[in-house]
């Protein structure tokens, strides 16, 4: 089990592959003590209106029967692929309750922010709210707690502990390898398609927290406007951290348009980071995801940092 999980979570810096993730699911299912309960869990029908809930389920080896905006999920959760059997429930903010009810789920996983729908959803099935924000916990601790809650709902506690232990091992490994080196800071940013703004992730959100946990220096240290740990700034302010490496989240067409505009911008080209070629991309990810998102992010950032490491020894 341990090895299977490790094999999965170390499956390449470009994120977890589909095959590796299936192996993780098997690993979760193969725990001897869990076998009988896992059979029961497999028959439990769970619908995830919350993406991080779907991600947690899949990390535990349980496939949701339905997910809200499944196309959007597939775009941002390449590391936790959704089986094609999962039904699309429509928009995350306006899920099709009639369709949901007809699927007769046993459990709904929802976002804690979607309070007002409670009364109706409870008529379909019990709800499990993923509270990743506003809990007073750090995003990573909240993600662990949420994973444990999902796990106890589907009786996969052991699998959850395995995922959590493995995530900690990944984080610690990165932190240890980086401790011995002088490392450049990173600015993780989303390039806005107007070619003038970027959204930078600082302390407080899942991205900033994961960086801190792994000892990856976040070069953007300004206080953020939102409790979600990001703010939107003009591109010229990136020069406030001239030594950093800019890591942009590749969001497909939006990002391509931004890059086209930035390629023509003297200001962008003259940014110290850009002029020195210190710009890297990571695949699209959901900034409000859970623990598997954090692990994938950590690996991707680690490989980027590794390229720029100057060994102190």
């Amino acid at each position: 089990m341990e090895t299977a999980v490790r094999q999965v979570l170390s499956a390449g810096s470009s994120g977890l592959t589909r095959r590796a993730f299936a192996a993780l699911a098997l690993a979760g299912a193969a725990l001897p003590a869990d076998t009988a309960r896992a059979d029961a869990a497999r028959r439990v029908r769970i619908a995830a209106l919350d993406w991080s809930g779907a991600e947690a389920l899949l990390a535990l080896g349980v496939a949701p029967v339905a997910v809200a905006d499944s196309a959007g999920y597939r775009r941002q959760f390449a590391h936790a692929p959704l089986p094609s059997s999962a039904a699309d429930l429509g928009g995350r903010w306006q899920p099709n309750l009639e369709l949901l009810a007809s699927l007769k789920p046993d459990l709904l996983i929802v976002s804690s922010e979607r309070g007002p729908d409670e009364a109706l959803e409870l008529r379909i099935a019990p709800r499990l709210a993923m509270s990743l924000h506003g809990t007073g916990l750090s995003p990573l601790a909240a993600a662990e707690a949420a994973l444990r809650r999902v796990a106890s709902a589907v009786r996969r506690e052991a699998a959850a502990e395995a995922v959590i232990v493995e995530a900690a091992r990944v984080f610690d490994g990165i932190a240890k390898s980086l401790a011995a080196s002088i490392r450049p800071g990173l600015i993780v940013a989303v390039l806005e398609p107007d070619g003038r703004h970027v959204t930078v992730h600082a302390k407080g959100g899942l991205i900033g927290e994961t960086m801190e946990r792994c000892g990856i220096r976040n070069a953007w240290t300004r206080p953020t406007a939102s409790i979600w740990g990001f703010s939107r700034i003009g591109i010229e302010r990136l020069a406030e951290a001239p030594e950093a490496r800019i890591v942009f989240v590749d969001q497909g067409p939006r990002t391509r348009r931004a890059l086209r505009l930035l390629a023509a911008s003297t200001l962008w080209q003259s940014l110290p980071q850009v002029a020195a070629g210190r710009v890297a991309r990571i695949p699209d990810l959901f900034p409000f995801g859970g623990l598997p998102t954090a692990v994938r992010l950590a690996r991707e950032l680690d490989s980027i940092v590794a390229r720029g490491v100057v060994h102190a020894g």
Partner: protein
């Protein structure tokens, strides 16, 4: 039908000296302080002409700070020029790219292009924006009948067109949440620059625009005289007016394409120019761009120094400013005459019961269709009674609540149209819907988690406060309809500015707000639906108590007073009933639907012209329309759903514009 803004009292009132130099000086000082913060003055020449590529501060100075300082007055001057041309051609002191719907049209076209044909954006945002602006302005003109329409009616038509295009854009965004922030970044107009490209482009636009204006100026100034007089001078008036309008369109859409929507600069600049004593068109033509430049520069500088963690987009700041300005205008707008009721449409009274029977039949069909007809993964499906036991919970409450909301909006629409004597008055213009939205936005921004109770409380409080504001302003004029309309428009403007500000924050919960503001009925519970139906029924029982007032009020304040009607008291009562109805409906289907505007007219067209029959027919029609909208919203893109409010808006929009057009005949 005249609703003149008395231009003698305030807009043209000369004031002591000009505040232009003061504004310019303040903007310049702030700009210099900003530059100083980035670079020592000794390095300024170098930063200006030959920035050191390896020095980020010099690069930011040269490529971000300076272009922003220059683009603000250029864009402001363009908007000021567009505003003064529009106001002259339309002879309407309230005309401006925002109030005419041009900005909304340009913005909507850009959103559509972003989602459906992004490659078009590479060819030129300007062309796309121009097309959108032309379509929007054509709609306003078709609806408002061109320059012969009164200022207030043009602004109403512009507001409706803006709301319609805004609803279209929101519908697109609800289905493409990834683009949410993008939409609002453009809607909240940012002056942030990353190079001189935009600045150079807009400078060329300004110079070309000024040259073209110079060619047209002499003929346009003739418009100061009466039109017949102008024609006798042998001036090719129509051609010049057309050319001038096209010029104003080009100018304002170029700004939208480069910077996003910067509302109301084109309204404020000519107003300030007039106030500074510019009496002739030539004087206004020179001073308005200057004022526009000063206004936008100062606004942008102030927006930059506000001590907030996230910078306020300049477009939001100008929208807030515009709202206050409109409030100022509404406080001074004098009602020369009350608006009479729309021209009667005569129907043979004998057919009315047949109409009513038809109407009830249609409503039954709509409700039954909505209950039984649905879609599943197998395709269209007509449910049997047995299947309905599992389905009723997902269909009946939202149908019932939609009916109640439509019905309340219909009643509110009848009350508002009769109260203001304006056929285009809608519950939306009361400002209650916008106020409810503001309440909800504020709640989301300050509270970490929200539930249904808080949502209702915040929306009600916001609506009540907005109404209180409208009433306070209206009290001084015994609730004269013209002032109510302008106040409502101001609050709606303020709301859209605040909403755009909240949306640009990227808060993940805002998706819920967007879906509420677009009018989602999917969360209605059986008890909520029962409550809504009860409220609708109570309102329908109470509203007829005002029937006598409603018959008299549209005849004008003079007649009403002559008949011994207490104007203030009767208007206040009608207004309160309309406000409760609007709040109830807003909580269910969101702040925008057009149903309250459309249903009373359908009722009248069917021959229900007296108060009581019109109230009943309208509430039935409004309810049926909303049920239809809700059904379409539920099934058209299954398994996704559209918000009911948006579908209702898009359904009713063309009808409403057509109505405006016919009302002019």
């Amino acid at each position: 039908m005249r609703a003149e803004i008395d231009s003698g009292s305030w807009l043209a009132a000369p004031s002591s000296g000009g505040i232009l130099p003061l504004m310019g000086l303040a903007a310049a000082c702030l700009a210099l302080v900003g530059l100083w913060g980035e670079l020592q003055p000794s390095q300024w020449m170098m930063g200006l002409f030959a920035p050191e590529a390896s020095d980020p501060r010099q690069m930011a100075f040269h490529h971000a700070l300076l272009p922003r300082i220059f683009i603000a007055p250029i864009a402001g001057a363009i908007l000021g020029l567009a505003g003064v041309i529009l106001q002259q051609v339309l002879r309407n002191p309230l005309a401006d790219p925002t109030t005419l719907g041009i900005s909304a049209g340009a913005h909507g076209a850009l959103v559509a292009a972003t989602l459906f044909a992004p490659m078009l954006l590479d060819f030129g945002r300007e062309t796309i924006a121009l097309c959108g602006g032309i379509v929007a302005m054509a709609c306003v003109f078709a609806a408002a009948g061109g320059r012969r329409f009164s200022p207030l009616s043009v602004i109403l038509a512009g507001l409706l067109v803006s709301l319609f295009f805004g609803a279209g854009a929101s519908a697109l965004v609800v289905l493409n949440h990834d683009y949410l922030t993008e939409l609002f970044i453009w809607q909240s107009g940012s002056l942030l620059q990353s190079g001189w490209g935009n600045t150079a482009k807009l400078a060329i636009v300004l110079i070309a625009g000024a040259a073209a204006t110079a060619l047209l100026a002499r003929v346009l100034s003739v418009l100061d005289i009466e039109e017949s007089g102008a024609r006798s001078l042998g001036v090719p008036l129509a051609a010049v007016q057309g050319a001038a309008l096209l010029l104003a369109l080009l100018l304002s859409t170029a700004v939208v394409a480069s910077l996003g929507v910067l509302g109301f600069v084109g309204l404020a600049a000519p107003a300030l120019a007039r106030r500074s004593g510019a009496r002739t068109f030539q004087q206004r033509l020179v001073r308005s761009p200057l004022y526009g430049a000063a206004i936008l520069s100062l606004t942008d500088q102030i927006a930059q120094i506000l001590p907030l963690a996230q910078e306020i987009p300049t477009g939001v700041a100008t929208a807030v400013m515009g709202a206050l300005l409109l409030l100022g205008l509404s406080g001074r707008a004098s009602a020369k005459a009350d608006l009479p009721a729309p021209p009667p449409v005569h129907f043979d009274a004998g057919h009315r019961s047949a109409f009513l029977a038809c109407l009830i039949g249609i409503i039954l069909a709509a409700v039954l269709g909505a209950i039984f007809m649905g879609r599943d993964h197998g395709g269209w499906h007509w449910s049997s009674i047995q299947e309905l036991s599992a389905l009723w919970l997902w269909r009946v409450p939202r149908i019932a609540a939609s009916f109640a909301a439509g019905s309340m909006l219909g009643v509110a629409g009848v009350l508002m149209q009769r109260l203001t004597g304006n056929p285009m008055a809608a519950p939306e213009i009361l400002g209650i819907s916008a106020g409810a939205s503001i309440g909800l936005i504020v709640l989301l921004l300050i509270a970490p988690a929200v539930d249904a109770g808080w949502t209702i409380l915040a929306a009600s409080m916001g609506g009540t406060l907005a109404l209180a504001g409208v009433l306070l302003v209206g009290m001084r004029s015994s609730f004269a309809p013209q002032r109510l309309v302008l106040t409502g428009v101001s609050i709606a403007t303020l709301c859209s500015g605040l909403a755009a500000l909240a949306m640009t924050s990227g808060d993940p919960r805002l998706g819920g707000l967007v879906s509420w503001m677009a009018g989602s009925t999917h969360r209605v519970t059986p008890s909520g639906a029962a409550l809504a139906l009860t409220l609708a029924a109570i309102l329908l029982l109470v509203a007829p108590l005002t029937a006598r007032w409603l018959d008299i009020l549209p005849l004008g304040s003079g007649i009403a007073r002559g008949l011994g009607l207490g104007l203030g008291k009767s208007r206040l009562s009608v207004l309160l009933i309309a406000a409760i109805a609007t709040t109830g409906a807003t909580l269910i289907v969101g702040p925008l639907t057009f149903i309250g505007l459309m249903a009373p007219h359908l009722g009248r067209l069917l021959g229900f012209r007296r108060v009581m029959p019109q109230l009943i027919a309208t509430s039935l029609i409004g309810g049926a329309l909303m049920v239809l909208a809700d059904w379409i919203a539920r099934i058209v893109i299954f398994p996704w759903q559209l918000p009911t409010g948006i579908v209702a808006t898009l359904l009713a929009g063309p009808f409403v514009l057509n109505l405006l057009r016919r009302a002019r005949r």
